[in-house]
Symmetry: C2
Subunit: 310 residues, 2 copies
């Protein structure tokens, strides 16, 4: 039996799963992805800074914000959040990955409201036309996903990088493997002992955890074009603003129904689907869940304050 190394944190925190009109139950769109204690925000609707506090997510660990599109319910919390980061002695650069308009719109606001902040805010323009690598560090790649909405919109694919296998200390000690050989073990080599016995790599290491992937698709009309980009992800957050009886309204406003979200999840063979971006008209979300589950059983409802382990 293969045992994987302990999984490192890869959590999705829902800060807001409402849509254009927030309700007392649901803030406008915002979420935070925690990958190995680095925080990445996706969308920043009004109230995101307070929801970070409510969810005990450290401001200091947030260095990148990804904005799907420039509708107010996805970005109007940005200036307040940045202002508060400034009051918390931040010095690290903050990068906003967003449509090219973002800097034109928000820079004057920053210049007026955040004159004293002791850190740099950098805008990284992303093209909503194509899927591309927009961010990369030691453990993560983030790709954009072109979506279909009333204004240029990008989803995001968070793709964990493969990690090296882990050394099994009891076994390397038993076979007297020198420390100098550890890097070659991690690269997959077998070890030849001094007595000529070859110890297979699989005895001396445990495989690294499989890299995990999370896809955020909001806001978007039903679009099968995204299926190849999100194929078999561990978790898909797909907007479901409406139920199927409002399909015409969904089409008109370029949103999706719960059924359509589930259809995309099924076509992409994802492991788990989370619904969100619900219209304010739905007080009770169970009917949306039932509708999606009829097509894709492993569907879950997001709600503000929920955490999903990826």
């Amino acid at each position: 039996m293969i045992t994987f190394a302990t999984m490192e944190t890869f959590d999705l925190h829902i800060l807001g799963c409402g849509s254009a009109q927030p309700t007392t139950q649901r803030n406008p769109s915002s979420q935070v992805i925690n990958l190995r204690d680095k925080l990445f925000m996706v969308d920043c609707g009004e109230g995101a800074q307070l929801e970070m506090k409510r969810n005990k997510l450290s401001y200091a660990r947030l260095n990148h914000i990804f904005l799907s599109h420039l509708h107010g319910d996805h970005c109007l919390g940005l200036i307040g959040l940045i202002s508060t980061l400034g009051l918390n002695d931040r010095t690290a650069e903050l990068v906003i990955h967003a449509h090219p308009d973002a800097e034109r719109i928000f820079r004057p606001m920053l210049n007026y409201f955040c004159t004293d902040i002791p850190f740099n805010v950098r805008f990284n323009s992303i093209s909503p036309q194509k899927s591309e690598l927009i961010f990369e560090d030691r453990s993560l790649q983030v790709f954009s996903i072109p979506l279909r909405h009333r204004v240029p919109t990008s989803g995001f694919l968070f793709s964990e990088k493969a990690t090296q296998p882990h050394i099994v200390p009891e076994m390397t000690k038993y076979h007297e493997v020198p420390l100098s050989f550890y890097n070659r073990l991690k690269a997959g080599e077998d070890y030849r002992r001094e007595d000529g016995v070859i110890v297979p790599n699989s005895v001396l290491t445990r495989p690294a955890a499989l890299p995990r992937r999370y896809a955020y698709c909001s806001d978007t009309a039903y679009s099968e074009r995204i299926v190849p980009l999100i194929e078999s992800v561990d978790l898909l957050y797909h907007e479901s603003t409406f139920m199927d009886d409002q399909k015409a309204r969904a089409k008109q406003t370029m949103h999706s129904t719960a059924k359509q979200a589930a259809t995309i999840a099924k076509m992409a063979d994802v492991k788990k689907l989370v619904l969100g971006h619900y219209s304010a008209r739905y007080k009770d979300l169970k009917p949306l869940l039932a509708e999606a589950k009829s097509i894709f059983p492993n569907t879950h409802l997001s709600q503000d304050g929920f955490t999903f382990r990826i």
Copy 2:
């Protein structure tokens, strides 16, 4: 004994009593004054639109927003609120009374984020240099109050207009006063009956309720200059960002302590003082209350969701 007519609604709803850095207990500054079912918002920090919902304050009854100054914690909820008003079929004009910079800062945001709103947003520039009448309707006058802060800042005095006395129907019937004489009764005339008997006005009418006044003073350093402008108001909301041991910090940031707020209340001989705009450092507000009460006993703490009857 003089009995006054039933008092009409004049309520202060606290939507946010936090300061620059909101907490999970306290939103940034915003409040709504309900005068005879017309709503007037003072300041519009992030989250104000949701707090209106939580406090069951009708969006449709809001036509005027007064911004004390253009620090983010007093106005960053504006665009989100206006966007939501637009989703609620509003057609009536919305007037923002604010520093002249407000239109320069917020108009581009409105043009970008609120393109579809079916109503006009008008900015009325107020001078932070002097006290002047900035709004008037049938029942209310609003005056600005120059405050002392790091950026140009105005407080607001909401001054109810005197109403005419009320006719006492049992008495006008008994003395056979014709309807055509009612306006002269309301203007204070006595009535001469056909038999020559003079019926004093005080028998035929009840005095109107005394006009009430509410003053909002935030943000401001300690300033005795405002005392004549708020003399004997029914309710004074005065910022108290700090306690007295932080007096130096209050001076430096041009805020007030609870003790200073109480001193102003005492000097102006107001009827009731409400504290607010508390620094995020204070979890427990009772010490601020105690400090103010030692100087001005009729002091109360504002908290988000509280309503004060004026």
